[in-house]
């Protein structure tokens, strides 16, 4: 299953520190030799300000070698720098934490700066110290501390580039310290700023930022309670879907998994989430030549080819892939459950008489389990009225009365009134009252 491991593809889009959990997870899955993973971890750690950790890893890998001297030096250096940066930052922090100051601060950043400068002699450079200290703390693994400092910095600073950088830093810190609510909030603000940013020569930059955001957000979405729904909402919005298709098709796995997991969306979900599955299948089909794995293949076999046997096979493979995946590991059982439901739904819709034994086989279940499953399914789904189990022949019979014509006509015309009045208001607004034409939609010739 190693060929379906995405760690190598995802890592280039992650921060050094964010990669550690992935590697740790890899060392647990036995996909690769433990030693290789450890070496990778060591290489990563070398570049951070965590000499102890690196030295520890080193001695694990080469138990019979002396730990290089450089780590000790680095350690000293780190401590010194820490001291220096802390002193600088403390000066600012003292001022800000003063309740008087906290009261005096307003929305307007310029004004705040002026105020701080006038009363406490704080300059922009000093405020930047907050940023540097935050960054430094992050680099040696004190993530919650980093988050604090970066937050304060963001409140005060007017420097756009540093602000963005601080935003990313804050997000990473929140992710690593496991504050999912905060991270989610951070993610939203970051997304907003990326989408609204108008940098010079931006098309590519924006694409890069979005690609990064997509990867980072996986941490949040697969850990937050409502993450999956939000993931569908975000990833299926046109711009992010484009980004996935152009620069990182492997994200489709997570999109597909989320779509399956979110099979029964909570009430009040947006239409995008409700139709997620359909949309995802389309994209999976379109990008098939670029990327496929058992999870996308499962969807394809089920909904494009209607080959239930192949779908079942893919589902079996998907199970392994899922359990080994860093993000999806926890959701494996959930996924299988939902996938079974999808299979049986598709099966029931195309079949009139179903052999329970056969269906159970399709679902990778024993006949007894299968029967229980099917009964549950019938009970909780809307098929209840139409499906009956015939225990004598051990079959399910589904009677699907044809939809009456008037029903289809009503369905088709239901939304029209609302849309038309929407059009009307839009028109009257467009004319800025100049053309008070109320609810009349402009007549457009019917073909």
């Amino acid at each position: 299953m190693a060929e379906f491991d995405l760690t190598k593809r995802i890592m280039p889009y992650l921060d050094r520190h964010l990669s550690f959990p992935l590697l740790v997870h890899l060392s647990e899955t036995n996909l690769f030799s433990v030693r290789d993973v450890q070496i990778a971890q060591y290489e990563l750690a070398k570049g951070t300000n965590m000499p102890d950790y690196a030295a520890n890893l080193f001695s694990q890998i080469y138990p019979d070698q002396e730990v290089p001297q450089e780590f000790e030096e680095k350690r000293q250096n780190t401590l010194l720098t820490h001291q220096r940066l802390q002193d600088e930052a403390q000066a600012v922090l003292d001022v800000i934490e003063n309740p008087e100051v906290a009261q005096a601060l307003r929305q307007d950043k310029e004004q705040n700066l002026q105020y701080l400068k006038d009363n406490y002699n704080l300059t922009l450079d000093q405020i930047a110290a907050l940023y540097h200290f935050g960054q430094f703390q992050y680099s040696y693994g004190n993530y919650s501390g980093a988050a604090d400092y970066l937050y304060h910095f963001r409140v005060l600073s007017t420097d756009n580039d540093l602000n963005t950088s601080a935003q990313w830093g804050k997000l990473a810190s929140d992710i690593l310290s496991g504050k999912w609510d905060a991270a989610l909030q951070e993610l939203d603000t970051l997304r907003e700023s990326i989408d609204s940013r108008s940098l010079p020569g931006p098309a590519l930059n924006q694409l890069h930022s979005r690609t990064w955001l997509l990867h980072w957000s996986l941490f949040v979405y697969f850990n937050h309670e409502q993450g999956r729904t939000l993931l569908l909402e975000t990833f299926l919005s046109p711009v992010y879907l484009n980004t996935i298709q152009t620069s990182c098709p492997w994200i489709l796995r997570y999109l597909a998994a989320a779509a399956v997991l979110g099979r029964a969306p909570p009430a009040g979900a947006s239409p995008r989430v409700r139709n997620a599955l359909r949309e995802v299948i389309k994209v999976v089909q379109m990008e098939e030549y670029q990327y496929q794995d058992p999870i996308t293949a499962f969807l394809k076999e089920l909904y494009v080819e209607f080959d239930f046997e192949a779908a079942q096979r893919e589902l079996g493979r998907a199970e392994h892939v899922l359990s080994d995946d860093f993000f999806l590991g926890e959701f494996c059982a959930d996924f299988l459950d939902n996938a079974r439901y999808l299979i049986s739904e598709a099966y029931c819709r195309t079949h009139q008489k179903i052999d329970i034994r056969d269906l159970s086989e399709r679902l990778n279940l024993s006949p007894d389990e299968g029967e229980k499953w099917i009964v549950n399914l019938i009970r909780e789904s809307r098929m209840g009225a139409d499906a009956k189990i015939d225990l004598d022949k051990n079959v399910i019979e589904i009677f699907r009365p044809a939809v009456p014509v008037y029903q289809t006509v009503i369905d088709k015309t239901r939304g029209l009134h609302l849309r038309t009045s929407g059009l009307g208001t839009a028109i009257s607004r467009m004319g800025a009252g100049a053309v008070p034409q109320g609810g009349d939609a402009p007549a457009v010739a019917v073909r």
């Binding site: 989408d195 609204s196 108008s198 098309a203 924006q206 694409l207 046109p238 711009v239 879907l241 484009n242 298709q245 152009t246 947006s270 239409p271 995008r272 389309k282 379109m286 030549y289 670029q290 909904y303 494009v304 080819e305 209607f306 080959d307 046997e309 598709a346 819709r349 195309t350 079949h351 009139q352 008489k353 179903i354 052999d355 056969d358 022949k393 079959v395 589904i398 699907r400 044809a402 014509v405 008037y406 289809t408 006509v409 088709k412 015309t413 029209l416 849309r419 038309t420 929407g422 059009l423 208001t425 839009a426 028109i427 607004r429 467009m430 939609a441 402009p442 457009v444 019917v446 073909r447």
Partner: protein
């Protein structure tokens, strides 16, 4: 090329013009010389028609009678046939006389007119490369004086006017003419300054020299061949150190060229270039001789530059192509030139250089040369361009079915080598602009060729000693080579080259069955939006690329994509014209000759053609596979009018109307009969008909394609069968279907399930019985109508929304502004709806959907910036 030499000439004349002041002052002496010709011409006028003892007065009398008429009618009435030269002289003198007269009465308007005429005549004299007659110089000098005098007088008059209030000053028009005259005169004086100085110094000598010249050239004048060797300006004659004999080749006299005289010979040849009576073959011969004796690199470069351009000059007409031998010679010489330049990096050929003395031998050691580099005016890239163009032109003109065409095509190898050498040269000298041009040329030779041909070309290039960095040998595959070439062009600044490189790259991908990459590249380039404003050649390339993409999709078995891609070009019914593979016969309007000529020039050489019959077969077959099941699925006539592929539907309708159909002959017949068979559910017959089409043999991997088609026909046959015969069955055994269509049971189940899921077929599967159970609902007329109207209303609202979207502009849509947050979602929905609608329309739709994807990425930014 001639541009450069022309420049050289211009700068020469301006160089010599700084002695203008001197001339103005020397003009004072002119009156002394003046009376003589004035008296002479004056007398001749009074004696008009009288005794004709001298040549000149005799011609005067003639020209008096017919004035300034063109000299064509002269011979008819002339008593004695004068040489063309004499005639011109006579005309000139007549004009001079009129000027004299006008001068006497101070009529500057007349003088001005006459002077114009005179200048024109002199110009003509120039064109036939005859020496300037001393008469003209004389006139110039005298005129200059009189103008100066007149101006002085006028000034005086003005002063007097101030004093006396009555002025004998010139009237307004006259004054204006006088000033105009002054300007004109100044210009001509500048041109002939040296001659004038010479004349002023010694009028007698000047005239005698002219006479000698005339005498010398007189015998050769009638034979046009000799004109080339004659020095154009008499002034050049007395330059020292002329150790070559300036002889006429035609005369059969031996020619002596030595390395010292080369540059002078070269100069002579260059001056004769482009003139009417120059014998181009002769010139080429001289230059070849010069090349043999050329000793230094500098001389060789100079001679080669001249030689190659004169070879290109050989054919002046645009329509005909260059003879093959000449072309080959030129190609060899360009190679030689590049070799010399590469071997001697101290010499550099540039389009723009500082002026240098054409006659001086230069070498890098010369302290005058900056940085030890001798810069020579010329352009290798334009030679390469021209070679390539001439090659294409010759292929256009040769009958593609003869052996000559194939022989000519073999020359592509050497041409390709030359291009590669030029590329290597530009790579080594880091000249970006010509380098990208030459790379484009190279790319154009290989992008549409199969791997084997590219390998052959590259192998030929490997043999030469000068090689560019990008080579097949070093890059492994032809795709790698093309990629390297294209990437270079993408990075270069020229947007036209970039576009063309992009298209070639896509074409190459399509040729190698890499459909997805090619499609993505095409969509991401957004070329379909801007191609309408591109030049015709690029549009043709675009069409070729799209068509190749369609064929690629067909080969890969992506029938829907192939159909959608090829549909556009086939609905125009001008496939040949759009691909530049033949001129379209217009029914209602006739092309002007110019248009026709332009059209002809655009045509691609035969070996680059995409076979249109194969193209049509691919298109019609894919249309058949898409359209026939669709036709079968539609039961009301109302909907039948909507068709996916109009050209196919038209042919099908036509075939339906035939009372009697014989065995199929053409490709179309085959496909039409196959379509009918498919409609009847006889997929085997359909398959046989399609596979017996002969044109498939032209397609690479024909066997695989046929196999793929057979499979598609089976599947679509099953679908068609189900659509057509579903109303007549209540159940249908899956195994029967599987047997009938020779498909595995699993595939049948999969196809049927898909149809059920997509609600194309109202049926369901009965697993225990292994049958399809159909649920047929007969709709009443009213129900049918109700459904139709519901659909139409839906479509109308959709249309309205779209119209409003367009009117409001902006990407967010009107919903945004309508009701804030909720509206935003609406907007996105409409976007999605649009996207979905697009995508369902197959590949072209997908194209737009994709395009929109990228556009949105940028669009959001745009709108946010706009506010």
């Amino acid at each position: 090329m001639s541009r450069f030499f022309r420049q050289a000439d211009d700068s020469d004349s301006s160089e010599s013009s700084d002695g203008e002041e001197e001339l103005m002052s020397s003009g004072d002496e002119a009156p002394i010389a003046r009376p003589a010709p004035a008296a002479k011409t004056g007398m001749a006028q009074f004696l008009a028609g009288g005794s004709s003892d001298s040549d000149s007065s005799d011609s005067d009398s003639d020209s008096d009678s017919d004035g300034q008429d063109s000299d064509d009618d002269e011979p008819q009435q002339a008593v004695r046939i004068m040489s063309a030269q004499e005639k011109r002289l006579v005309e000139m003198e007549a004009t001079g006389k009129v000027m004299e007269n006008a001068l006497k009465i101070n009529d500057w308007v007349a003088i001005s007119n006459e002077f114009d005429k005179l200048v024109r005549m002199i110009q003509r004299q120039h064109n036939v490369s005859e020496p300037i007659p001393p008469f003209y110089v004389k006139t110039l000098i005298s005129l200059e004086n009189s103008v100066n005098n007149a101006l002085a007088k006028e000034k005086e008059a003005k002063q007097e006017k101030d004093a006396k209030k009555n002025a004998k000053a010139l009237n307004a028009t006259n004054a204006k003419a006088l000033t105009a005259m002054k300007q004109k005169l100044k210009k001509s004086v500048k041109e002939y300054e040296t001659d004038m100085n010479e004349y002023n110094a010694d009028p007698e000598a000047f005239e005698s020299k002219y006479a000698a010249l005339i005498a010398q050239s007189a015998p050769t004048a009638p034979t046009a061949g000799g004109a080339g060797q004659r020095p154009t300006a008499p002034g050049r004659d007395d330059e020292p150190g002329a150790d070559f004999t300036n002889v006429v080749g035609k005369g059969g006299k031996a020619m002596h060229f030595s390395s010292e005289g080369i540059l002078k010979n070269l100069q002579a040849v260059q001056e004769a270039r482009g003139k009417k009576n120059t014998d181009r073959a002769e010139q080429i011969r001289i230059l070849e001789k010069l090349l043999e004796v050329a000793a230094t690199a500098y001389q060789r470069i100079r001679v080669l530059l001249a030689l190659v351009s004169s070879r290109f000059d050989y054919n002046s007409s645009v329509a005909t192509h260059m003879p093959t031998e000449l072309w080959l010679a030129a190609q060899r010489e360009v190679d030689q030139l590049v070799a010399i330049i590469v071997a001697n990096p101290a010499y550099s050929i540039q389009e723009m250089t500082e002026d240098y003395d054409e006659l001086k031998e230069r070498s890098p050691e010369d302290p005058e040369e900056k940085g030890g580099i001798v810069r020579i005016r010329g352009s290798i890239i334009s030679f390469v361009d021209r070679l390539d163009d001439e090659f294409t032109k010759s292929l256009q003109n040769i009958d593609p079915h003869g052996t000559e065409y194939i022989d000519r095509l073999k020359d592509e190898k050497v041409l390709y080598c030359t291009i590669c050498r030029a590329q290597a040269f530009y790579e080594s000298t880091n000249q970006d602009e010509p380098l990208s041009r030459v790379i484009m040329r190279r790319l154009e030779h290989i992008y549409s060729k199969p791997d084997a041909v590219v390998q052959a070309l590259e192998a030929a290039m490997e043999v030469s000693e000068i090689k560019p960095n990008m080579r097949l040998a070093s890059l492994g595959t032809s795709s790698g080579l093309i990629h390297a070439l294209c990437v270079y062009l993408y990075k270069s600044g020229n947007s036209l080259l970039r576009t063309r490189a992009m298209l070639s790259h896509i074409y190459h991908h399509a040729l190698h069955n890499d459909f997805h990459t090619a499609r993505d590249m095409l969509l991401m380039s957004h070329l379909q939006e801007s191609i309408h404003s591109a030049d015709v050649a690029t549009q043709i390339l675009y069409n070729r690329t799209v068509v190749q993409l369609g064929l690629c999709a067909f080969r890969c078995g992506l029938i829907k994509e192939a159909q959608a891609t090829l549909l556009d070009i086939f609905t125009t019914q001008r496939v040949k014209e759009l691909l530049a593979q033949g001129v379209h016969q217009q029914r209602f309007q006739v092309l002007t000759p110019e248009q026709e000529k332009a059209e002809k020039q655009r045509q691609l050489p035969f070996h680059m053609h995409i076979n249109t019959e194969l193209l049509e077969a691919a298109f019609l077959v894919s249309s058949m596979l898409v359209e026939i099941p669709l036709l079968a699925s539609i039961d009301s006539d109302e909907l039948k009018r909507k068709s996916i592929s109009k050209p196919f539907r038209r042919l099908l309708d036509f075939a339906d109307r035939q009372v009697f159909t014989g065995p199929p002959e053409s490709t179309r017949d085959h496909i039409m009969q196959a379509s009918k068979a498919l409609q009847d559910g006889e997929w085997e017959q359909c398959r046989d008909l399609i596979q017996s089409i002969k044109i498939w043999s032209l397609m690479p991997e024909a066997a695989g394609v046929k196999e793929m088609l057979a499979k598609r026909i089976q599947e679509q046959g099953l679908r068609t069968y189900l659509f057509t015969y579903a109303p007549h069955y209540s159940t249908l055994s899956l195994s029967l279907l599987s047997r009938t269509f020779s498909l595995p049971l699993r595939t049948v189940t999969s196809i049927v399930s898909k149809m059920i899921w997509n609600e194309e077929l109202s049926a369901s599967l009965d697993q225990s019985g292994g049958v399809v159970v159909f649920h047929r609902i007969e709709l009443s007329r009213a129900q049918q109508l109700a459904q139709t109207i519901a659909d139409k209303i839906g479509a109308m609202v959709e249309q309205n929304e779209k119209a409003l979207d367009v009117k409001m502009g902006g990407t967010g849509g009107w919903g945004d502004r309508a009701d804030g947050n909720k509206g935003e979602k609406r907007g996105e929905q409409t976007q999605e709806r649009r996207g979905r609608g697009d995508r369902t329309r197959g590949m072209r739709g997908g194209a737009r959907g994709r395009g929109a994807r990228f556009a949105q990425g940028l669009g959001n930014e745009m709108s946010s910036r706009l506010g």
